[in-house]
């Protein structure tokens, strides 16, 4: 990283810099749009991209300065460690790719308004706060910032009833989930006398047994976060919202909300790991339900977006396996084990796979027309082999077939599960991924085995940005599938507890 001296800046300010950059940019785009370009040019997208890169540079700077010492900031309410660093980077990568996807998509749909980028940046900043949170209240704030921007984004296509409906549905159910989360936080506070995760951890370590109050509180937390993470049985909104939202929003939401929710889950359940007996059964049940039913429900889908929605539920189930594998930590160095490592690696894999898959959908939606059904893919490898084989890679990666990143992620989750005694879950996960392969292969054979019928999907106009998304995602899916070492090392460098 360029050696800019930030030593005079306090840790509090420094910690917030990645987020502040995004907030300031969002404000600048709003003002700039009012006075200068008025939705006519590509400026908002370009400015957003620059802001995301600057924010990422700050993250790297924070990592090299503070991450080893596991610093906290803002009176212990924000934590600086590898998890927050990697979470932020994953979110910024998501945001970067989402901006590129939106650039093409919005223009082709005639939705080119700069407030899209404003909302996107704000939403990412909320998720970033969630990954940094060392306090349940900060976590809740982050979640709300993420969610409110997402509600607006889902309804962004104001001309379409579907989009509006999805937005309302997401908002209403999301509000309920937030209430559950808040109620859960208050119950945990009631037992622990603090919302700070470090304090909660310390209190939990001294507990013998657990009270019904704590159990109820943790359960409600699980409902609130499980909603965001799209776990069965809190998944009802997922297919409708994924389907109704503009495709570029679906792509962003699928990745960003998942990262935020799962890193929050990691932090909360790690702090509660001394009372693992209390929450383990619930987590296991959610994991099994999501893996099995997510995959089974996906099989019968005909719309690609709905298919990816159900598949995202299944992926949330796989990630829950990593949560269930969190070790009962006894030290202050927390979230350094294989479970959190594998979960974060998987989240990275998920970002590239989903952004790639949705990117192909945007790429194949020419002006004014939207690509919807799997059948539209028929014969794609004849008409557009690059898109088809790109999609094939993303599907194989989602299915967890080597040599792709998805396989490496799944393999690491297996490792963490077996290492921490969750062998049953790893077997269920293995069998569930067989169902998954069936529907991913269906997409692949539609593209490659079938001959094109009628007007085959053509590439979108002005598709350079989305093409670069496909290139980046495909490249990452293959490279990190073949050589995951570098990415894993980012999670483990100077990390004493890591293997």
């Amino acid at each position: 990283m360029p050696a800019i001296d930030f030593s005079s800046v306090s840790v509090d300010t420094m910690m917030l810099m990645p987020v502040i950059v995004l907030w300031l940019t969002a404000a600048a785009i709003m003002l700039g749009n009012t006075f200068f370009w008025r939705d006519k040019r590509a400026w908002p997208a370009i400015i957003s991209l620059v802001a995301i890169v600057v924010s990422a540079l700050f993250c790297f700077n924070i990592r090299s300065t503070y991450a080893d010492s596991m610093t906290t900031a803002f009176a212990d309410s924000v934590k600086v460690d590898y998890v927050s660093f990697m979470g932020n980077i994953a979110l910024l990568v998501t945001a970067f790719l989402s901006v590129l996807v939106a650039w093409t998509y919005l223009r082709n749909k005639g939705l080119n308004r700069s407030d899209y980028y404003v909302l996107l940046l704000l939403s990412v900043s909320g998720a970033m706060l969630m990954t940094d949170a060392n306090d349940l209240i900060v976590l809740f704030l982050g979640l709300e910032i993420l969610s409110f921007a997402l509600y607006a984004l889902v309804g962004f296509s104001t001309k379409e009833a579907r989009s509006e409906e999805a937005s309302i549905k997401y908002f209403l159910l999301g509000a309920f989930a937030s209430a559950f989360l808040l109620y859960g936080i208050s119950m945990v506070y009631g037992v622990m006398q603090s919302t700070n995760l470090d304090v909660i951890f310390a209190k939990a370590s001294q507990m013998h047994g657990f009270s019904a109050m704590l159990l109820a509180g943790v359960g409600l937390l699980l409902v609130g976060l499980g909603f965001k993470a799209a776990l069965i049985p809190f998944h009802q909104w997922t297919p409708d919202v994924y389907d109704g939202a503009p495709t570029s929003v679906t792509a962003f939401m699928a990745a960003a909300a998942k990262i935020g929710a799962f890193i929050a889950l990691l932090r909360v359940f790690d702090a509660l790991s001394p009372v693992k007996v209390a929450w383990l059964p619930a987590v296991q049940i959610l994991a099994i339900l999501s893996m099995i039913f997510g995959n089974i429900l996906a099989i019968s889908q005909t719309s690609l977006k709905r298919l990816l929605a159900y598949s995202s539920i299944a992926h949330a189930g796989y990630l829950m396996v990593a949560i269930a594998s969190l070790p009962v930590s006894t030290t202050g160095h927390r979230l350094t084990g294989l479970a959190s490592q594998s979960a974060i690696f998987y989240l990275f894999a998920y970002v590239f796979m989903t952004m790639g898959a949705f990117g192909v959908m945007v790429y194949l939606s020419p002006e004014g027309k939207e690509f919807q059904s799997i059948k539209d893919l028929k014969g794609l490898s004849r008409t557009n082999p690059v898109a088809a084989y790109g999609m094939m890679f993303f599907m194989l990666s989602l299915g967890g077939i080597p040599p792709t990143m998805g396989f490496m992620g799944k393999w690491q989750i297996f490792m963490s599960a077996v290492q921490n005694g969750q062998i049953m879950l790893s077997i269920v996960m293995a069998l569930a991924s067989v169902f998954a392969v069936y529907y991913y292969l269906r997409v692949v054979y539609m593209m490659t085995f079938e001959e094109p019928v009628g007007a085959s999907p053509k590439a979108a106009t002005s598709c350079a940005p989305v093409r670069s998304v496909l290139a980046i995602s495909a490249f990452a899916t293959i490279i990190f599938g073949l050589a995951p070492g570098w990415l894993i090392s980012l999670l483990t460098v100077n990390n004493p507890a890591a293997k």
Binding site: T383, I401, W411, V418, I423, V434, Y445, F449, K458, G485
Partner: protein
């Protein structure tokens, strides 16, 4: 040979095809299909190159042929430089190089005589398949790319000494084969491709869990460390509870049993073989089924010797059921390709029988029979494919008496068939006879299994010769068959090397079995049967050297059950 190539010879053999595939991908234009005129109307995506002349298709074919010949030549270098002296374990070892250092995953490859023969079979059959596939008219470029990718993945399976590396190659094989069946296959190709993929994938995911469990318990993915006595990983492996070891053995075995395939996991095989294009069937039967047998020999047996020995009766029983069942079902097939496919179930039963006899003869025969089956069944699939091209049907009843019309064809077909039936002087005889001998003398299997299995040989004569009779002899039954063409020069060129091998292995097997002496002894030692003294187990060519018997003393005694 340049130094860098000689130093990493094995890696070059593995990855040369993938380099060829990349060259094809980027340096060659997508040619227009030659036969399907209606595809001219396809609107190409933006910026896509306009359809080019058939010449570019020929360039792709010639390049792929050249490239696979190059790979084959390089693999021959392995054969010539191979050291057959006893006691040798792995040769041409490359690595271990750190691949994923955090989890101690290494790029570590090496071969013994068993791998060597299977690699040669792979490169050889791929070369012939490419030669045969010159008649592919649709989507030539993709086809050739998939063939080359498949070659890399299959060769990798036979070389990997690291469990994760092995698993990656093992699964990577599925992808190109899925496309070969699905795009260039026959009517029910989509069903067959999906079934093939899911069936094998379902088997192998549990193996992945098993691999991970092994690592968590022992801290190593290296199969060399895990089986070599004295290594830490091996000690830890011995420390795993027997019950758990049984689960692990089951997880590995299930993956391999499906791949072989053993009865009752064989149902994917007829579908995949029948629907695949000819080259796909050849590679499926010729090489991919051997991956399952190889998995047992390289992984399941040495890693879990006690469990393997305990489960031997089950495997032997399934193997003989497979032999008889495959043969009986083959007899009644009206479709030639399906007949050959079921005959594979029967022949692979012999291979499994040889492996689970745990004798030197049985294991040697099993490997040799794996190669033989690749040659004879490969040849049969090629010839059925040639027939299909002429008449677009594989129904036995659509032919009849065509020996008069296509005498050369009939002669070649008879050779392939007799090799499959295991007639003395052909390769099939050497393999199956050695297996039966090994099974007969083994205290684990014994004469009953040998007796039942030998009925399989009789049945194979029945279904093969009956098919030959119905197709080739007697009067010509269909007027339209009178215009059938005999073999072309290209087709003869594909078949002659196979015929040469049929007789080479059949008449001079010591040249080939000498590669198997050392590895078979090693496997016996790993399984803990090295000291098993069998008076009859005296293949005169298999001499236990002094070093070997000395090493044998260090063997930790394992209670035999």
């Amino acid at each position: 040979m340049p130094d860098t190539i000689a130093k990493h010879l094995l890696s070059w053999v593995i990855f040369l095809p993938i380099i060829g595939a990349l060259i094809l991908m980027f340096a060659f234009k997508r040619p227009q299909d030659e036969e399907d005129a209606h595809h001219h109307a396809i609107v190409l995506a933006d910026g896509e190159v306009a359809p080019t002349t058939p010449n570019s298709a020929n360039a792709i074919r010639n390049f792929t042929l050249f490239w696979s010949a190059l790979t084959f030549a390089l693999s021959l270098a392995l054969l010539f430089k191979f050291d057959t002296s006893p006691g040798e374990k792995f040769q041409f070892v490359d690595g271990p190089f750190e691949w994923i250092p955090q989890f101690h995953v290494n790029y570590h490859i090496g071969i013994d005589g068993i791998s060597l023969l299977l690699i040669l079979l792979t490169t050889f059959l791929t070369l012939l398949s490419v030669g045969f596939s010159f008649n592919i008219k649709r989507r030539v470029k993709e086809y050739m790319i998939f063939l080359l990718l498949l070659e890399t993945a299959m060769t990798g399976v036979f070389c990997a000494l690291d469990l994760v590396l092995f698993y990656v190659f093992w699964e990577a094989v599925l992808i190109p084969m899925y496309f070969l069946i699905g795009i260039w296959g026959h009517d029910r190709r989509i069903f067959a491709a999906v079934k093939f993929f899911l069936y094998t994938f379902a088997g192998s995911v549990l193996m992945l869990v098993g691999i991970v469990y092994l690592y968590v318990a022992t801290g190593s993915f290296s199969v060399v460390d895990l089986v070599s006595r004295g290594a830490d990983a091996h000690q830890l492996l011995l420390g795993i509870k027997p019950q758990t070891m049984l689960y692990l053995f089951s997880a590995f075995s299930l993956a391999f049993m499906i791949k072989v395939p053993m009865f009752p996991f064989h149902t994917w095989l007829p579908d995949a073989h029948v629907e695949a294009p000819t080259a796909g069937s050849v590679i499926l039967a010729g090489i991919m089924l051997k991956m399952g047998a190889y998995g047992f020999i390289r992984f399941a047996l040495p890693l879990f010797p006690e469990q393997a020995k305990a489960a031997a009766p089950l495997f032997l029983a399934l193997a003989v059921i497979g032999i008889v069942y495959g043969a009986v079902v083959a007899t009644v097939q009206p479709d030639m390709k399906k007949l050959v496919a079921y005959s594979s179930v029967s022949h692979l039963g012999f291979v499994m029988l040889g492996i689970f006899s745990f004798t030197k003869l049985g294991l040697t025969g099993a490997v040799l029979q794996s190669v033989n089956h690749g040659i004879s069944t490969g040849m049969l699939f090629f010839m059925v494919g040639m027939m299909y091209e002429r008449k677009h049907t594989r129904e036995i009843s659509a032919y009849g008496g065509i020996k008069r019309i296509v005498p050369v064809f009939a002669a070649f077909f008879l050779i392939a068939l007799l090799s499959s039936v295991a007639l003395p002087l052909t390769n099939g005889f050497v393999g199956e006879f050695t297996i039966l001998q090994g099974v007969y003398i083994s205290p684990i299997s014994g004469s009953i299994y040998a007796g039942i299995a030998s009925t399989g040989m009789v049945l194979s004569a029945i279904y093969m010769l009956w098919m030959f009779q119905r197709v080739f002899t007697g009067p010509v039954t269909h007027e339209s068959n009178k215009s059938l063409l005999d073999l072309t020069k290209v087709e003869i060129a594909v078949l002659v090397p196979l015929v040469a091998l049929v007789f080479w292995i059949g008449c001079a097997s010591p040249y080939w079995t000498k590669f198997l002496t050392a590895p078979v002894t090693n496997i016996q030692n790993d399984v803990g049967l090295g000291q098993m003294q069998l008076p009859e187990d005296g293949d005169p060519r298999v001499i236990i050297p002094k070093e070997q018997s000395k090493a044998g003393k260090e063997i930790i005694p394992i209670a035999s059950n």
